[in-house]
């Protein structure tokens, strides 16, 4: 049940059997149907989610009432509002399944317990965060240096399969332009 997480951890640190047991005793497993929310704005951000299967997005609703996708996540990524998680406040973001999903959940209080008992996991989570933060830095770089059209082509080249999985209007907001504009880019040049 938790084997995909255990396998992911094994890429970074080596756990023995008893450590794995401690960890697994503190996890839960949840399924989310397409469009269901893992976490909503305003809810306590005290849980993080490891995506076992499927695809999720992080979004907000702006003052005009439209949704803006800030991030996607697929298999083997941890997601949550880390500022809320860090400060024990409520989430500023929605996290939603955009396909049927399965996720492993870890509450902050349980995380603290398991880190106490299995300190090796500090390294694991540090590395996961280091990678996520690095990805976030690059994302900002792309937003700053590329035009809307370039961002679209760049994403299309780097993640062609992914673009099939996700509705265009979510991609458009992820790349920070309107769905109509995306449609026009596609019309201009397959």
């Amino acid at each position: 049940m938790y084997s995909s997480l255990v396998a992911h951890i094994a890429k970074f640190v080596t756990l023995d059997e008893s450590e794995k047991e401690v960890l697994c005793s503190l996890l839960t497993y949840e399924k989310f149907k397409k469009k269901e929310h893992l976490l909503k704005e305003g809810q306590s951000g005290n849980t993080q989610y490891f995506i076992v299967k499927g695809c999720t997005r992080q979004y907000i609703i702006n003052e005009k009432g439209t949704e803006q996708t800030l991030q996607f996540a697929i298999e083997n990524w941890w997601v949550t509002d880390y500022l809320a998680f860090h400060n024990n406040t409520s989430s500023q973001f929605y996290f939603q399944a955009i396909e049927n999903c399965e996720a492993i959940t870890l509450e902050k209080s349980n995380m603290e317990i398991v880190l106490e008992k299995v300190p090796k996991l500090e390294k694991y989570f540090r590395l996961v965060l280091q990678k996520s933060y690095g990805a976030s830095q690059i994302r900002i770089k792309y937003l700053f240096t590329m035009s809307a059209e370039e961002r679209y082509h760049n994403m299309n080249n780097r993640f062609p399969e992914f673009m099939q999985r996700v509705p265009q209007y979510m991609v458009a907001s992820y790349l920070d332009f309107s769905p109509e504009f995306l449609s026009k880019i596609r019309a201009g040049k397959t």
Copy 2:
């Protein structure tokens, strides 16, 4: 010499004297004059910097040859290109002192040694990264939901002192618009 870092760590985990000694034996201390670079694009990103004093920025040079500031950092922040640091590749960013600065440096190889000997620091760095990543998520949110003018006023309200310390053209590029435009915002409304 390293007391500001030791104090910062103490906010997150408690080290005993011998642990502090191990840590300090693996650090170096560097001063940077205003406009000097801590790290340049293309150089190995194998070092992270803890800002003791002063202010730095992370920037890139875009295809038009103009600089774009992606992030500022002041006292008590760690900076580096974390993707490069993670993957042992070269930095995609410039990191530059915008005031005379003092920084504590930690090389990746030394970081690995100290984490081996003082595992408590895994927690410290995990928390630092968790916070940085959270801040980065929020930054993307602001870029997406606010107009250029709103981003300026928001920043002005939240960091009035900081705005005094930094040239306007850097603020403009940090907020992702032109210096001329910033000048016009200011003209329209103190």
